[in-house]
């Protein structure tokens, strides 16, 4: 098991937002984290990155307990997190954004190889390598954000709402890219509100409601599940 999150509670000040959630991700697996607005999906990714701290429970990565490891040391372990709304560095060039993605020594060593790999997957980024990130379209920024995450040589790539605001064309590209990434042995954990879209590409899914896990299982079992429909449509 690559990532094993066990029974975590997360509180913002005194307000509990995540209740006793457990999820796990295997090697080369695509897992979707589903749920309506405000159900705590992003908080779970943020907790795995230690941007939010968890009470109780544990987070293991490759069988090592990582609960107390600070955020900036997690890329080196092999966890890359693409934050919600891209969060590229707007006043830096595409190239500079990518360079910053390869920050830890191992990633720096592999810089040239990673770059040529990234440019093969995202040819547009090579053509625009000197352009400032803020001048690119939303779809291009999303590609850049994912490419930047890949530069850190992750074993687990976490992506928060990758399809938000993308055109159907770009969406299709991105789905293909995700599948390629997984076929290279990298796991993807992503957050999505569109259940059908998410389950059509993921191997497994977890459904959250108000910070609690409602149901989880294989995509094909979830896709027409009554419980899942209930969460999204209300009872």
């Amino acid at each position: 098991m690559l990532l094993d999150v066990k029974n975590i509670d997360v509180l913002y000040d005194d307000f509990q937002v995540i209740w006793d959630v457990s999820i796990n991700v295997n090697k080369a697996e695509m897992v979707a984290l589903l749920g309506p607005n405000g159900s705590g999906k992003s908080t779970i990714l943020n907790t795995i990155s230690n941007l939010a701290h968890h009470k109780n429970g544990s987070i293991h990565f490759e069988n090592d307990l990582i609960s107390e490891i600070p955020t900036y040391k997690r890329t080196e372990l092999g966890i890359s997190h693409v934050l919600e709304r891209r969060r590229v560095f707007p006043h830096l060039s595409v190239m500079q954004n990518l360079l910053l993605g390869a920050w830890h020594p191992k990633a720096k060593e592999q810089l040239d190889i990673s770059l040529s790999k990234i440019y093969k997957i995202f040819p547009k980024l090579e053509a625009r390598s000197n352009q400032l990130a803020r001048t690119m379209s939303g779809g291009e920024q999303q590609m850049l954000a994912i490419a930047r995450g890949m530069m850190g040589l992750p074993k687990l790539l976490m992506v928060d709402e990758p399809f938000l605001g993308l055109s159907p064309m770009v969406m299709k590209d991105l789905i293909k890219i995700f599948k390629n990434i997984v076929s290279e042995g990298i796991s993807i954990l992503f957050v999505e509100q569109n259940v059908r879209l998410a389950l059509s590409m993921a191997d497994r899914g977890y459904v959250l409601e108000s910070g609690r896990l409602v149901i989880h299982g294989k995509s094909e079992d979830l896709i027409d599940n009554e419980k899942v429909t209930k969460v999204f449509l209300g009872s």
Binding site: Y72, K73, L83, H91, Q96, W103
Partner: protein, 288 residues
């Protein structure tokens, strides 16, 4: 009024402006990085002048030679400031942040007055003395060297921030702290580096000014105010903006003093500040 006098005022203004620019760059760097305004910037300048003074008075080290020591001391002072004060208020409300650095300024100034009395001091017979006469324009040698050193330091700072890996990480942290942290760039370390460099800039300016300026515990107040005006005029977070703004302020100060009335010199500078706030709040090169 002859053109020589105007030329003289321009040269004087330029030389002063380069010093203002470097002081403002330190302030701007810290603000751009963590959105904290260092209201103790003037006091840090005062400390660097005193560092230069004491190194001269106790060890006989001329200000021109003690510059590296002063820079290191100020960089160290910056790291200490971050470690013991700033890191605790990073997430605090703005008012608390203002009170913290403003309180620090009063603290430093009071301690300085207690230790060194409010007397005016100066470095007697420094190596840099005298003046050059070019045509009909007089240029004080210490002033000229100080402004050139500040310009070189400014260019060095600019190249460091834009061309080096650490500089890139500083920019990334300034633009999106969490996104940078998640890529493996520890923001706390970047903040400490930012403070070290920011106060290092002040160390260069203060150390060079110790050659010809009176050194006293309130000396930083006006310089800090000018630095605030320069940062606002240049644009918050823009380092290159500080260079233009610093020079503009230096010129306005000296030309305004010459053409209108020298006793209102400060007024002209602060008038710029008001104009900027009203008509171009983002400054000349600002992003915000």
């Amino acid at each position: 009024m002859t053109s020589e006098i105007i030329l003289q005022a321009i040269v004087t203004g330029l030389m002063m402006g380069l010093i203002y620019a470097l002081i403002a760059a330190g302030l701007s760097l810290i603000f751009g990085l963590m959105e904290i305004v260092n209201f103790a910037h003037g006091e840090h300048l005062m400390l660097s002048m005193f560092s230069s003074f004491w190194l001269w008075s106790l060890f006989g080290l001329d200000p021109i030679f003690s510059i590296p020591i002063t820079i290191l001391l100020m960089a160290f002072c910056g790291i200490i400031t971050h470690y013991f004060l700033i890191r605790y208020i990073l997430k605090a409300k703005m008012l608390i942040q203002i009170c913290a650095t403003f309180g620090l300024s009063i603290f430093i100034r009071s301690i300085a007055q207690l230790l060194w009395t409010p007397d005016f001091r100066n470095v007697d017979k420094p190596l840099l003395e005298g003046r050059l006469e070019i045509g009909s324009v007089f240029i004080g040698q210490p002033q000229l060297i100080a402004s050139l050193v500040c310009l070189v330091a400014f260019i060095g700072l600019y190249l460091f921030v834009t061309k080096t890996e650490t500089g890139l990480a500083l920019q990334a942290t300034a633009q999106d702290r969490h996104a940078a942290e998640i890529l493996g760039i520890p923001s706390n370390k970047m903040f400490a580096i930012g403070w070290a460099i920011g106060l290092g800039c002040v160390g260069v300016a203060g150390g060079m000014m110790a050659n010809y300026f009176f050194i006293f515990t309130d000396v930083g107040i006006n310089f800090a105010l000018f630095a605030f005006v320069a940062v606002a005029l240049g644009g918050f977070g823009s380092i290159i903006g500080c260079l233009y703004a610093g020079v503009i302020i230096g010129l306005v100060e000296s030309l305004g003093g010459l053409l209108i009335d020298p006793s209102f010199k400060l007024l002209y500078v602060f008038a710029i500040y008001l104009l900027v706030v009203i008509y171009r709040p983002q400054g000349l090169f600002g992003r915000y």
